[in-house]
């Protein structure tokens, strides 16, 4: 009766292959002569990139938890612990701080908060508690932004994000249909929690854009139909650190930066 959750295929299995594949695709369009050289390079993705991918994968899994009939609490707790661990490490080595100091840092705050909300909701759902006021999440978040951020990121430096930017971020999702897919999914999840109706599970699946999960696409910086979700922009944040360690993807990253700029300005 209920869907078995389809875990999006994550081409993470062989990191070597993934990375080379991404590079090849980029070069395929243009410069055939370079391809040969690049193909010979088996670049291992930087630790930060791997870590970021793991974080993204974990967040997706936590989302899927809500789509299950009754989430397996052990699995949710283990995934949430993994997410927390990654975030703590990213905070400690300054990666997180660097992300936060950028202008669209608010988006990453969303993600941290979302993680907590997602974890909380899954437990509360298991508990049988009515999940309070998630439909007013946007409003509350704007009101308690500082408090929330300090709650969720106990180890992260508190970041004061300009409120107008924050509200821009939330409003961004609505007018543009294809942007903020991640946020859209989040809203649907909260709706599901409210309604707790099995039918919305199918809705959730039908509207989650699977191309978001394609790491290849992320690396090449090209998304079909320019469906750049929240997290796609965020994924580029790992690239600054990756740039230092891997100059091969510099051209990709410039393009990603460009796309991020567009996001921020709109």
């Amino acid at each position: 009766m209920f869907l078995t959750p389809v875990v999006p295929h994550w081409p993470f299995y062989n990191l070597d292959t993934m990375f080379v594949r991404g590079l090849k695709r980029k070069c395929f369009d243009g410069e055939e002569d370079i391809e040969g050289t690049l193909a010979g390079i088996k670049a291992i993705p930087s630790y930060n990139l791997q870590r970021q991918s793991l974080l993204d994968m974990s967040l997706v899994k936590l989302q899927l938890c809500h789509m299950l009939v009754e989430p397996n609490l052990c699995r949710s707790v283990l995934i949430a612990n993994t997410v927390r661990q990654i975030q703590e490490e990213m905070t400690q080595d300054g990666t997180w701080q660097m992300i936060n100091t950028q202008s669209t840092g608010q988006a990453s705050l969303d993600r941290l908060v979302s993680t907590d909300i997602l974890c909380r909701s899954s437990r509360e759902q298991a508990e049988g508690k009515h999940v309070p006021g998630y439909t007013t999440f946007n409003k509350d978040f704007e009101g308690d932004q500082a408090q929330d951020s300090s709650e969720t990121m106990s180890t992260a430096p508190s970041v004061q994000v300009p409120r107008n930017l924050q509200s821009n971020v939330w409003e961004m999702e609505n007018p543009q249909e294809n942007k903020g897919n991640f946020q859209k999914s989040l809203d649907q999840i909260f709706e599901t929690l409210e309604n707790k109706s099995p039918n919305s599970v199918e809705d959730l699946f039908s509207e989650v854009d699977n191309s978001y999960y394609d790491l290849d696409t992320m690396l090449t910086g090209m998304m079909s139909n320019s469906k750049m979700g929240h997290c796609d922009g965020l994924e580029t944040f790992s690239s600054p650190t990756a740039t230092a360690s891997n100059s091969n993807c510099k051209s990709d990253l410039n393009e990603l930066d460009h796309i991020v700029e567009i996001l921020v300005e709109s």
Binding site: E70, L73, V77, N81, T82, D116, S197
Partner: protein, 441 residues
């Protein structure tokens, strides 16, 4: 394990390539004499096999197991308050020791434990006064004489009746049940709580462990398995998702939140990764028959602990260490969350657990030898000796070896059982139940 040659004995279940979800076996358990073997499946059914008497006419058929009783233990339910479906899947079956002609077992799904009585009927009363043989009531005015009903033999009928239903005591999913050695009580454990029941009382249970934090946002650890000590009715253990085992004594306090012993192995810093915690989560804990040791199963290893030593296990066995470099993909496809069980043999000298590709592993604690065997239809000729399998980790693959990348992760052996006194094992491979015995000379 070279001393014992394992042979195929029987396989139960369909050969169809497509597996019906409801037929997937979710638990396997021998009773205390080994005469009965029970399986539970995702469809909420229990099938009990009985070992036939060994006959001198057919000595090679050493007591085959045949279907004895089949019944629907649990039905799917709907929790209207939470708008969630409650699966009928049987998570665990535990037998009670036999005290009379009937057999009793506990079966549980995520929320409700049931006590089933399985009894035989081979006689039927005949000659009632008030009703005729069809059961229709007779007109009392037509009765002219009285007679005493007599019992006449009939074809053997095995009937299962639910004698007790223990419901509404668990908010979270029940993962374990364990019968106490006093035979009067048993415990049921879910993700955050453990309850103690008396078999006679269904409307009350005692909560003996509660690890639910006041603020659920602080939740970082859950209970994964629990079991009573085989001889000491006051002692039990429970394992956690952080790889720890707590031994509790019910005499110390009503709520056993403070453990008497705490078993945890210090982490190996060289093996640390983001997956360290997940693979340390204990999926099963079992006391040895002697009660001196406990065995735990985590994702990659089986460990034996001495109850008197809390700081590390006395033995660690690698089940499939070649998966250590694949943890990320196993995390991606959720296999890393598979819960494998583990079992002792009757003399506590050998331990067994399952793996992927329908492989299962046995470790001899005395000789330190181990073997990998496979449950497959190809090796299913009667009394065919099982050939040890080997996974090739890298480099050149020998002829009979299988490479790690060729393993089928959808074929997982999570549930196995070992006869209490003989070398007979039951291995659940998805929807098939394999029975293997040691070679008869």
């Amino acid at each position: 394990m070279q001393d014992v040659l394992w042979c195929f004995s029987q396989v139960k279940g369909t050969i169809d390539i497509g597996v019906t979800e409801a037929d997937i076996i979710s638990t396997v358990e021998f009773n205390h004499t080994g005469e009965l073997l029970a399986t539970g499946d995702k469809g909420g059914r229990v099938v009990i096999f009985q070992r036939e008497q060994e006959s001198k006419n057919q000595p090679h058929r050493r007591g085959e197991y045949n279907v004895y009783s089949t019944f629907q233990s649990h039905e799917p339910e709907f929790d209207y308050l939470k708008s969630l479906e409650i699966e009928e899947k049987i998570n665990k079956i535990r037998w009670l020791p036999q005290q009379n002609a009937a057999y009793f077992l506990l079966s549980t799904n995520d929320k409700t434990v049931k006590l089933w009585k399985v009894s035989e009927r081979d006689k039927r009363p005949e000659g009632y006064n008030l009703k005729d043989e069809d059961g229709r009531l007779r007109d009392p005015s037509m009765i002219t004489m009285l007679r005493v009903p007599v019992l006449r033999p009939m074809d053997l009928m095995v009937e299962a009746t639910p004698r007790r239903v223990f419901a509404n005591a668990h908010t979270y999913h029940i993962n374990s049940i364990s019968v106490n050695s006093d035979y009067e009580t048993y415990m049921s454990a879910d993700d955050l709580r453990i309850n103690l029941w008396n078999f006679e009382i269904t409307n009350q249970s005692f909560n003996i462990v509660d690890i639910k934090p006041a603020n659920m946002e602080e939740l970082t650890e859950v209970i994964t398995a629990a079991e009573f000590h085989p001889h000491h009715c006051n002692t039990f253990v429970y394992s956690s998702s952080k790889g720890t085992i707590r031994l509790c004594d019910m005499r110390t306090s009503a709520l056993c939140d403070r453990h008497a012993k705490f078993f945890e192995e210090p982490e190996d810093p060289s093996n640390r990764s983001f997956f360290s915690e997940i693979i340390s989560s204990i999926s099963d804990v079992k006391f040895s028959h002697s009660g001196r040791y406990i065995m735990t199963r985590d994702y990659l290893t089986v460990k034996v602990w001495d109850l008197n030593m809390e700081n590390r296990p006395i033995e660690t066995y690698q089940v499939h260490d070649y998966l250590r470099s694949k943890l990320c993909s196993l995390y991606e496809n959720d296999c890393i969350f598979d819960k494998f069980e583990c079992v002792w043999n009757g003399s506590d000298s050998v331990i067994m657990t399952g793996s992927y590709n329908n492989f299962f592993r046995m470790f001899d604690r005395n000789t330190k030898r181990d073997v990998t065997l496979e449950a497959s239809r190809e090796n299913s000729k009667p009394r065919a000796i099982l050939k040890p399998r080997k996974v090739c980790v890298g480099g050149k693959r020998r002829k009979d070896e299988i490479s790690v990348d060729s393993l089928d992760f959808s074929k997982k052996i999570l549930h196995t059982a070992w006869h209490p006194s003989e070398n007979i094992i039951a291995v659940a491979a998805t929807n098939n139940l394999y029975i293997f015995q040691d070679k008869v000379n």
